[in-house]
Symmetry: C2
Subunit: 447 residues, 2 copies
C-alpha cells in the first residue's frame, strides 16, 4: 500500500495516538521510513511516540543514520531505552559504530544487561569483517537434548528473531557441532535426539574474514545464512543474506567510485559541493601532475610539431583511442579481480590475451586514422605513420590496462585505484612517445 503523505500529515496533526497507530500499522515500516524526511521533526516525534515500540523500532532501523541520530537526540530516555533494546543487535552495533565514543558510552547503559555485554563484544569487531556483519540473534541448543527441547526453545525465542533458517547445535564449549534446518524440525518426531538428525556438514565463515570474502562464500553456496566461528570453532554469531545484499551494493559502489577516480562513496545529494569537490580534487591534482609529463614530452618534440603542423591534428585521436582501449582492458580486469573470475595467477594469460586484442583493435583503429590522413590531408606517408603509431599505442594500451590492476593487487593495493582516468593519463605519455618516435623514424627524415 502506498503512503499518502498529506493524509499522514493530517493524521499526525490530530495528535490522536490511537488512530495514528492504527492507520500507520497498515504500512510497512520501510515505507514509513521512506517518507520520514518529508515530515517535520515535530511530526516525527508525535508519530514515533504514538506507535507501539516494536513498530517504532522497525521504522527506526530503516532510517538513514543522520535521521536516527536526530531521533535519539530528541525522544525521552524511556523511549530511547525501549527502541535500542528492541533493535536487532547487528543494526544497533552499526549505529553505535558511527556515533562518537562518548555518545555510545552514554547509550550502552540503557540496554538490558546481557544486551550490553553482547553489544560491547560486537563493537570490538572490525566493521568490514564477518564479526562486524553478524548478529547475535539466533537459537542454539545443546547436542544431547531431544527435538522436543528445540520446540520449547523456539516457542520462547522465535518472537524476537526476524528470520530463522537453522537451529545451531553446540557442545559444552559452545563449539558448533551441527545445524538443523527449521523445515526439518516440522517433520521430526519430538522424541528423537538432536545429535541424530543434525546436519554435520557445516559451511561457516571465520570471525575475521573480510566482508568481500564473506560475500563470495554466500554466492558460492547459496545459503540464506551462515554461522560465524572463532579460531576454536566456537559459534560467535550468524550472518543473514540480507546483510550480504548491502555489502555487495556497497562494495560495487566503492569499486565504481574508485575506478572513476571519484573519491569516497558518501551521500552525493546531501553533501555540500565543497565536500564533494574536496574528495575529487585530490585525484584531479594527481592526474594533472601526471599529465604534465605528457606536456613535457610534447615540449621535447616541439621541433617536430613546428616543422610538420599536421602532426598535431592526430594527437587528440591517438591519445583518446589508446586511453579508451586501456580503460576497456582495465575495466574488465578490475571487475574480474573483484568478482574472483580473474586471479593473480592469471597474469600471463591476461597479458597474452590483451596483447592479441591490442593488435586486432590497433589494426582497425590504425586503418581508420590512416584513411582520415589520406582523405583529409592527402598524405599517404602521414597516414602510414599515424597507423603504425596507432597500432603500437593500442597494443601498449590494452596490455598496460590489463596488467596494471593485477600488479596493484599483487602489491596489496585495491586494483580499482588503477582508475580509468589514471590509465588514460599514463597512456597519454606512452602514446605521445610512440607517436613522435615513429614519426622520427618514418616521416621526419623524409621531409
Amino acid at each position: 500500500m502506498r503512503v499518502i503523505l498529506p493524509e499522514i500529515k493530517e493524521l499526525i496533526s490530530s495528535k490522536k495516538k490511537r488512530p495514528i497507530r492504527k492507520v500507520v500499522s497498515y504500512f510497512e515500516p520501510a515505507d514509513i521510513a521512506e517518507i520520514w524526511s518529508e515530515l517535520t521533526l515535530d511530526e516525527q516525534l508525535i508519530l514515533f511516540n504514538a506507535l507501539d515500540i516494536k513498530f517504532a523500532a522497525d521504522i527506526f532501523e530503516s532510517l538513514k543514520e543522520d535521521q536516527m541520530i536526530e531521533i535519539l537526540n530528541t525522544v525521552s530516555v524511556e523511549k530511547k531505552k525501549a527502541v535500542l533494546n528492541e533493535m536487532s543487535p547487528d543494526d544497533r552495533t552499526d549505529l553505535f559504530a558511527i556515533l562518537p565514543d562518548e555518545e555510545t558510552e552514554k547509550l550502552i547503559p540503557l540496554l538490558d544487561e546481557d544486551e550490553q555485554k553482547r553489544t560491547r563484544e560486537l563493537l570490538a569487531y572490525k566493521e568490514n569483517t564477518a564479526g562486524g556483519l553478524m548478529t547475535t540473534d539466533y537459537i542454539t541448543v545443546p547436542e544431547d537434548v531431544k527435538i522436543g527441547y528445540v520446540f520449547r526453545e523456539l516457542r520462547n525465542k522465535a518472537k524476537d528473531i526476524d528470520f530463522i533458517q537453522y537451529i545451531y547445535v553446540v557442545d559444552k564449549m559452545n563449539r558448533l557441532q551441527g545445524t538443523i534446518p527449521l523445515k526439518d524440525l516440522l517433520t521430526t518426531n519430538p522424541q528423537r535426539k538432536v545429535s541424530r538428525i543434525m546436519d554435520t556438514h557445516i559451511i561457516s565463515v571465520h570471525l575475521n574474514m573480510d566482508q568481500e570474502d564473506v560475500v563470495h562464500v554466500f554466492e558460492k553456496y547459496d545459503e540464506p545464512s551462515l554461522p560465524v566461528l572463532d579460531k576454536l570453532g566456537r559459534l560467535k554469531g550468524v550472518i543473514t543474506v540480507d546483510d550480504v545484499l548491502d555489502v555487495i551494493k556497497e562494495e560495487a559502489s566503492e569499486d565504481i567510485y574508485r575506478f572513476g577516480a571519484a573519491g569516497g562513496t558518501d551521500e552525493y545529494l546531501s553533501a555540500s559541493p565543497f565536500r564533494v569537490a574536496q574528495k575529487r580534487v585530490i585525484w584531479l591534482i594527481i592526474l594533472a601532475l601526471a599529465g604534465f609529463i605528457s606536456g613535457s614530452v610534447l615540449e621535447h618534440f616541439s621541433f617536430l610539431l613546428s616543422s610538420i603542423v599536421t602532426l598535431s591534428f592526430f594527437i587528440p585521436i591517438l591519445m583518446n583511442t589508446s586511453g579508451s582501449a586501456g580503460t576497456q582492458a582495465a575495466t574488465v580486469v578490475v571487475r574480474g579481480l573483484a568478482t574472483g573470475e580473474i586471479k593473480l595467477s592469471d597474469i600471463w594469460h591476461v597479458i597474452k590475451k590483451e596483447f592479441l586484442i591490442g593488435i586486432l583493435m590497433g589494426v582497425v583503429a590504425g586503418v581508420i586514422t590512416a584513411l582520415r590522413a589520406i582523405i583529409l590531408q592527402g598524405d599517404v606517408m602521414l597516414g602510414f605513420t599515424v597507423a603504425i603509431a596507432m597500432i603500437a599505442a593500442i597494443i601498449i594500451a590494452t596490455s598496460l590496462g590489463g596488467i596494471l590492476p593485477i600488479i596493484f593487487k599483487k602489491l596489496g593495493v585495491d586494483p580499482a585505484l588503477m582508475s580509468g582516468p589514471l590509465i588514460a593519463t599514463i597512456l597519454d605519455t606512452t602514446t605521445l612517445l610512440i607517436y613522435f618516435n615513429v614519426t622520427m623514424l618514418l616521416l621526419w627524415r623524409l621531409q
Copy 2:
C-alpha cells in the same frame, strides 16, 4: 573441507562407485563444481554416474553453463531425465533459456508431466523480469483449512524445497490472501484456522517487474523471499534472496562494463581474443570517429598552434584534466541513478552542484597549470590564459558529466552507456574549443 584434487582423481580412476559416493558426499556440491574443470570429461562422467541423483543434480546446478551442456550431451538418457527432474525449476529454466530451441524441445519431454507444464510457463517470462527469476517450488494452502493441514503439506513437500521461509495462503482463484512465517507455525495450535493467524500485510512483486526493481524491493524490505503476483493478484511464483544476489552482481558488472565502454559481460578468461576484441572494437570505432571532431578543431585552429608553439604543450593536460573531471561526475551520477539515490527529478540539483564543483576544482587545476606555464615557460600571460581555459573547461566537464547520464536515462537509454571514455571524448572537443577561443581572446591579439 577442502577438495584435494589428486586424491579425487585417484579415487575416480578406481571406478568404484561406492567409495566415490562416500568420499564425495563429505564435500559440498559447490566445492565439487569448483574443481570440475580440472577433471577430464571421462572423469566427470564416472563421478557423475557414481553419485546419487540428488547430489549429482546439486553439483550440476552449480556448474557453469558450458559445463552443464557438455554433461547433458554425454550422459545417458535416464541420467539426464533424473537430473533434469531433480533440478530446481528456476535453475532449470535458466539452462533451457540459453539452449537452442530445438535442444530445449528435446529435453522438456524428459520431465515429469507437471514439471513440463511449469517449465513451459516459466520459459515464457522474460529472463530479466520477476517472472524470469522466480521458482515454482513453494507451498500454498487454502484459506479455510487448519494449521494441522499445513503441517501435513509440509511433511509431504518440504523435502523437495531447499528453503522455506513462508507458507502462502491462497483463495480458490489462487489469489494470495496472506503469508505464514514458518517459525510461527511451530508455536501455533494445530486446531487454529490458517486465516486467523496469517499475516495479511503482503509485500509482493509483479510478474513483469524489471529485475533491477525487484532488487530494490528486496533491499528496501529486507525479506528473505517475495511472492510474485500477476495482474489479478494470483500467486505465480516466489523469488528467493539468493537469486537476487546473482542479479545484483550481474547488474553491477553490466554497469561497470558499459561505463568502461568494454562491451558485454561474457566470460573473459575463456573467451577468445577475437571475441573480446569484437565486443570492444565497436565502441573504440565510435570513440575514434568522435575523436576526429577534436582533430578537426585542432586543424581549424592550426594557425594559432603554428604561431605560438608553446600552446600545444598544454593540450594534453587540458584534455586530460577535463576528461577526468567529467568522468568523476559521470561516475557518481551513473552509480546514483543505478542505486536509486539520484532520481530524474534531481537534474537541476545535479547541474547546480556540478557547476559549483567545477568552479572549485577548476580554480585548483587552473592555478597548477598556470604555475607550470610561468615556471617552465616564464610566460605570465600564457599562464593566465591557460588557467582561464582550464577553469572554463572543467566547469563544462563536471556539468556535462553530471547531466548527460540523466539525459540518457530520460531518453530511456541506460545511463551507463554514457561511459567514461565517451565523456572524455566529448569533452576533448569542448575543451579544445574553449582553449583556442580563450587564447584568441586573451593571448593572440597581444602577440
